[in-house]
Symmetry: C2
Subunit: 389 residues, 2 copies
């Protein structure tokens, strides 16, 4: 096991109606709040009005900034930073899914920083400070509600880059599974693929003797596989929604990754897809992850046998590990398809004519290797994109 | 799933040599520290000298209070409270296992409280404040290094009582698996039983639709079962010690219990044993837990079938659930015995002549029911003690 430091200060308040506690929680962190959100969904559902009422009742002043898009844009982040500085805002409240939270995180670290906020995402600076951030989660997927990570897209070159710093963890997150009842099946499934990928990026490791967290990762995957079909089929099933919502948080608060070398190549490979085609991140991962597995499994077959047996209950062929491994990958693809996700580019109507360009961009023209499990160069990444066809 | 709030602020620093970071971590919380510990073990091992050097190097002033016994005593807690007040100490550093940490927690909440610190344990007061507390863990077992709980024994009547409040969670905990190399096999095994019991107290629930955390609990148990025999057999096996140490923290930081009704009857039943006979808490649990299971399984047989199948891989008898259940309990006892633990009172040389007295005390003369799974009165508890024979 590797040495590690784990510190997750996010206070999770989980259950029916918890969004009504936002005023009292937010008031612990200041008097003036930036209400950051996406489109009209939270207006139509009445959530925005409810949140505003709770904030006002707690004596908070509200400034709002909506308009966060999926794959949140740098330009809006910069607009937010200016607004927060101008209005002398004390804390940021993100109401939405991963995109809104990631955008809010970027604003929160951008405000106290003297330079360009993109510096963090470009690997040129480290965030030492952050404005306090609270979350009301409406889409269980990205795990951003308690993670130290944020992914932002720079429209200048459509670069999608992630940044991780412990100061970005939200101070509190309110998780009401009922708020996810209105998520359509496809978006629910995309969230499921995203959280499964968060676990698998941590699971596929060269680190030996991490058996305790292996078991936890496998358990989290099995728990998601148990409830996801129900959440997709019965959108208003509270129990299915609750288990999936809690799973999304656990999948990415990095508890499951402690002591392990992690991979994250599939995320990088997918980022090029969703930056170019605006496909949902989870759908892109459902295409990329199985392809990545097919390309890399020979590097550490035992780990893929373990995945097949422990996560999908594949009957192990003790004489032919490859057969077990491929059956495990097949079951993963089958699971993704069963909840309505694409597993090939053409399923998502993505053409295969820019694979070379994406492989070059993901690896910065072969100068940058992807992944901790088996570092991948441009040729490898291209081969994985080819396996997505 | 039940509504819940989860907030665990403890910063875990895990790995080889992390105790040397104690000075820099402690200095974030004050200038004057109470070094709280047990007996001479940390002196002989050189740990105490190393800790003092690190604290002094960081400019901290040290006041020490040793002498914590297993089943930590209220009288020493009171002595600590007086000492901290008199010396105007800023933070408490517990160096040891669960007993030392629990004693430190009691001091930490006792100092800012106007009344008698036993009020918290007697259920007469709620702790709103705590002095900051840091931990260097030497015994993986109680999980107290990041839990919100403390158990103290009042010598006046030998009452052993627990108290839980989120303010008691340590600010930081330094976990170096090497510090556990010197733990004898029996003490290692007692720690294992304690952490398994912490998970099982959360696992046996009437709450339905907690499948996600069911999987996590089962995984944590399987991870412990995987590494415990190795840690017992090869005391200096870093990987076994590391997995067990991390498991002990996860088992009791309450992440695995979120959304679930919990039980805790076995802990209460065991507390009477170790209060009277000073048996190690873990050894007492290895005796009590299987007996409790035998007494209560009919209340919810499915859950015990699930335990047998998922935790111990029992081949399910689909026509005879009871056979599967009893085989699961038998495997748990067999596992405890395989790592050198007692599973009957006579194995621990405890006489059976005060069972009635213990049953009366545990239930406060049948006025107080034990456990959330199946509330138990005095007769039930006596029957469970009888099953321990």
């Amino acid at each position: 096991m590797r040495d590690f430091t784990f510190s997750n200060i996010t206070k999770i308040i989980f259950g029916r109606g918890v969004e009504e506690k936002v005023g009292s929680e937010a008031a612990k962190w200041g008097r003036k709040v930036l209400l950051h959100y996406g489109g009209g969904h939270i207006v139509r559902s009445g959530l925005k009005a409810k949140v505003e009422a709770s904030l006002r009742e707690a004596g908070l002043e509200i400034v709002e900034l909506g308009g966060v898009q999926p794959n949140p844009r740098l330009s809006l982040v910069k607009e937010g930073i200016d607004l927060v500085r101008r209005e002398k805002i004390d804390l940021i409240l993100a109401v939405g899914g991963g995109s809104v939270i990631d955008s809010a995180k970027a604003i929160a670290i951008g405000v106290p920083y003297g330079g360009d906020v993109w510096d963090f995402y470009a690997g040129k600076a480290k965030a030492e400070e952050s404005l306090p951030l609270g979350v009301i989660l409406t889409i269980p997927a990205a795990g951003s509600e308690s993670s130290p990570s944020s992914v932002i897209t720079n429209e200048d070159g459509w670069l999608k880059r992630g940044y991780t710093a412990n100061v970005m963890r939200p101070k509190f997150a309110l998780l009401n599974p009922e708020l996810t009842f209105s998520l359509p099946p496809y978006q629910t499934a995309c969230g499921v693929a995203d959280m499964m990928a968060h676990i698998m990026e941590r699971y596929f490791t060269n680190q030996t003797d991490v058996g305790f967290s292996d078991h936890l990762c496998e358990a989290a995957l099995r728990g998601i596989i148990q409830y996801a079909p129900l959440a997709v089929r019965e959108p208003e099933n509270y129990e299915a929604r609750a288990n999936i919502m809690w799973a999304g948080t656990i999948a990415h608060n990095d508890l499951l990754g402690m002591g392990r070398e992690q991979d994250w190549a599939s995320h990088d490979i997918e980022h090029e897809l969703s930056a170019l085609y605006d496909i949902a991140h989870g759908a892109g991962l459902a295409i990329v992850f199985p392809a990545w597995m097919k390309y890399v499994y020979k590097h550490n077959p035992n780990r893929f046998v373990q995945f097949a047996v422990r996560v999908f209950g594949v009957d192990q062929d003790f004489y032919n590990p490859e057969r077990t491994i491929l059956e495990g990958i097949r079951r993963l693809e089958e699971f993704f398809r069963s909840i309505g996700l694409p597993t090939r580019l053409q399923d998502a109507e993505i053409p295969a004519d820019r694979l070379e360009e994406m492989a070059a961009k993901a690896t910065k023209n072969d100068t940058h290797k992807l992944g901790g499990f088996l570092p991948l160069g441009q040729k490898d990444v291209l081969a994985i994109y080819e396996l997505c066809r």
